[in-house]
């Protein structure tokens, strides 16, 4: 596997099943039926066995944020929890590399597992999972305490991590005195404290209100630039996934449907299920000018040789433009001035295009490598918002 060399964490053919009925042999029977291609509804009804994850293959490269996405019950959290064996796979491997060799988390002995959990893999929980009777300091130092580290050494590390998440002044506070956002920062600091290189985040921001959620997403991205952890992140929010994920994996009914970069997912969904997610995303920060614009090469020509852009006409060399017979200057890059068309880079987001269009009252021109290539007028913007333009760029 070419990806395997850089992967920090790798799931190979992972099946996770839960026996609800405690009947002997139910798991084996369920596996046989799973291999025979039965759906998880059928297996669940016949054997009282829940198929959490089936046949999952995923490699998480060192230093990337890999997002698992799906509706509730799609198995994304179940798969994540296999990475530190809070859920134990029935079949398959969960491999973690130490630079020299692979270790199978699903099958290693308990001592090895505890060592991995203490030193390599940390976790952040949706409901924070903080110990309410402890101070912030003692919560952050929890993992180090479990390792048996002396309190005096612990104190310095804890102070450093609290500084990192901006809670240096709250070390002696109790958890319940903190807001939800601050509590999750404590959860982050606790995960950072063990200096684990792999971070499992199980919908860490879902319990927070939207403003705080966005703020923490930004903070996480900021921290990640410095810390370069390998992060496996579960989310049910497509906007969150597109924003923070360097790779996104979509899951459905326990199976992985598609894995790819945010662009792959947003622009080339493999099926209707994935497309349905994309339809519900917030387009303003995600869609870029390149996907919104009408290309000059697609514009019809007027009898006078100018390109017909509806309200404006553009000279074939794209050096000048006119609107209602009034000649307009073309000003490169964003800054809008009175009586000029503004030009934006192809990576500018739809939200910003709309803002420029609104302030200037004129269409927005798009350039790639110093060359004008297209324009965004009201019709193009509306079309992008409606979703039809989203799969056109590439």
């Amino acid at each position: 596997m070419s990806e395997g060399i850089n992967a920090a964490l790798e799931f190979r053919n992972v099946d996770i099943l839960f026996d609800r009925g405690n009947r002997r042999g139910a798991i084996e029977a369920a596996l046989a039926r799973l291999d025979a291609g039965e759906t998880r509804e059928e297996i669940g009804r016949a054997l009282k066995v829940t198929v959490g994850v089936a046949g999952a293959n995923l490699a998480v490269a060192r230093g990337e944020i890999s997002v698992l996405m799906g509706l509730s019950g799609s198995g994304k959290s179940t798969l994540l929890r296999a990475a530190n064996r809070l859920n134990r796979p029935i079949r398959g491997e969960v491999r973690i590399g130490n630079g020299l060799a692979w270790l199978d988390i699903a099958r290693c002995d308990d001592d090895t597992l505890r060592t991995l959990r203490k030193t390599r893999i940390a976790m952040v929980f949706q409901q924070f999972g903080l110990l309410p009777w402890r101070t912030v300091r003692d919560n952050v130092g929890f993992g180090l305490e479990l390792r048996g580290m002396a309190p005096s050494i612990r104190r310095d590390i804890v102070a450093e991590k609290l500084e990192l998440v901006g809670l240096a002044n709250w070390a002696d506070a109790h958890v319940h005195e903190l807001s939800g956002g601050m509590q999750q920062r404590v959860g982050l600091a606790r995960a950072f404290a063990t200096d684990a290189d792999i971070l499992l985040m199980d919908e860490p921001f879902s319990a927070l209100d939207p403003l705080i959620r966005r703020k923490l997403q930004d903070e996480l991205l900021d921290l990640q630039k410095r810390l370069k952890k390998t992060i496996l992140f579960v989310s049910h929010d497509i906007d969150e996934a597109l924003k923070i994920g360097s790779r996104i994996t979509i899951m459905r009914e326990g199976r992985i449907v598609q894995t790819g970069t945010p662009d792959d997912i947003a622009l080339r969904p493999v099926d209707d299920y994935v497309a349905e997610f994309i339809r519900h995303m917030n387009p303003l920060p995600t869609i870029v000018a390149a996907a919104v614009m009408r290309r000059f090469q697609d514009l019809p020509r007027r009898p006078d040789g100018m390109l017909d852009g509806g309200r404006i006409a553009i000279a074939p060399d794209a050096a000048t433009a006119t609107i209602a017979d009034r000649a307009l200057a073309i000003r490169p890059h964003g800054a809008w001035t009175q009586g000029a068309l503004c030009v934006v880079p192809a990576q500018l987001s739809l939200g910003e295009i709309i803002a420029l269009r609104q302030r200037s009252g004129l269409p927005v021109l798009v350039e790639v490598e110093g060359r004008l290539v297209g324009l965004c007028d009201d019709a193009d913007i509306l079309q992008a918002l409606c979703g039809e333009a989203r799969f056109r760029a590439g």
């Binding site: 929980f125 409901q127 009777w133 929890f142 479990l146």
Partner: protein
């Protein structure tokens, strides 16, 4: 012959079986019970003697300081001091000390047995299921019923009273500990597991602190149940505040009955206020 007559004539020997069991235990285990009687009696009576040897006012000051240290409440410290002074005033100091040492002993024993057993029950549902009917029996079987065999096995005195008290009080800490541990949120246990805690670390660093308010409630209940047994303990010869109550009952003395009754209530209130879990538990 009417059917009910037939049923009545073929009596199942429930009572006879129990009597035989007690008899066998008595015959073969007499040495063991003598050792228990002697050692427990020696310790309990020794504690009572020690408490009585100290000057009462010194104990009042110590109790006040203890209440302040545990709860940081001036009102409670004052309540404890005034309550104990009232007991001295009414002339029930000696009986109160005897009751206190009996409660102390049975409570320490109940907690020492109850908390580990409660933890075991919380971790092993099978054990909890098996223990459930026994605990129900211990709490609902009328005390006088098991007073008879304890009397046979341990003779008259402090020890049978204490054994009956323990039988009656020990289900409370077992149940409360079990409930407390079982109610620890799954997410907290998982947080411990995710950071590599061993089973023992999870018990000591997560489960027990999380269950502490419930365990403390179990302690308070245990003390109250022990206290409610003082009169019955007095019937089998244990000293303490039950003795004047029994005497007042036998001689129909309203004044003595109320005096000792009030002292018991006062003791209960003081112990409850000092030991009950703090409100900020949730």
């Amino acid at each position: 012959m009417a059917p009910e007559q037939w049923i009545a004539e073929h009596k199942i020997p429930v009572g006879a079986v129990m009597a035989a069991v007690v008899d066998v235990v008595r015959k073969h285990g007499l040495g063991v019970f003598d050792v228990i009687t002697d050692s427990v009696g020696f310790c309990a009576d020794g504690l009572t003697t020690l408490l009585l040897d100290l000057p009462p006012l010194l104990l009042v000051v110590a109790a006040m300081a203890g209440a302040w240290f545990l709860r940081r409440s001036v009102g409670l410290a004052a309540l404890v001091a005034l309550g104990l002074l009232f007991i001295i005033n009414q002339g029930y100091w000696n009986e109160t000390m005897a009751t206190l040492s009996l409660i102390l002993f049975s409570t320490v024993f109940c907690m020492a047995v109850g908390v580990p057993l409660g933890i075991a029950c919380a971790h092993r549902p099978r054990l909890a299921q098996a223990l459930q009917p026994l605990l129900d029996l211990m709490q609902t079987l009328p005390t006088f019923v098991y007073l008879i065999p304890t009397l046979i096995l341990f003779g008259l005195g402090t020890v049978p009273g204490m054994i009956s008290t323990i039988i009656f009080a020990v289900p409370a800490p077992i149940r409360m500990t079990q409930m407390g541990i079982a109610r620890v949120p799954r997410s907290l246990i998982e947080a411990g597991e995710a950071f590599g805690a061993t089973g023992r670390q999870i018990l000591w660093k997560i489960e027990l602190p999380a269950a502490l308010p419930m365990i403390q409630a179990g302690l308070t209940q245990c003390i109250m149940l022990s206290l409610s047994m003082v009169v019955i303990a007095a019937l089998v010869g244990a000293g303490g505040l039950g003795v004047p109550v029994v005497r007042a009952l036998n001689t129909v003395q309203v004044d003595a009955g109320f005096e000792s009754g009030f002292v018991i209530v006062l003791l209960a209130i003081m112990l409850d206020r000092v030991c009950r879990p703090k409100d900020s538990a949730s």
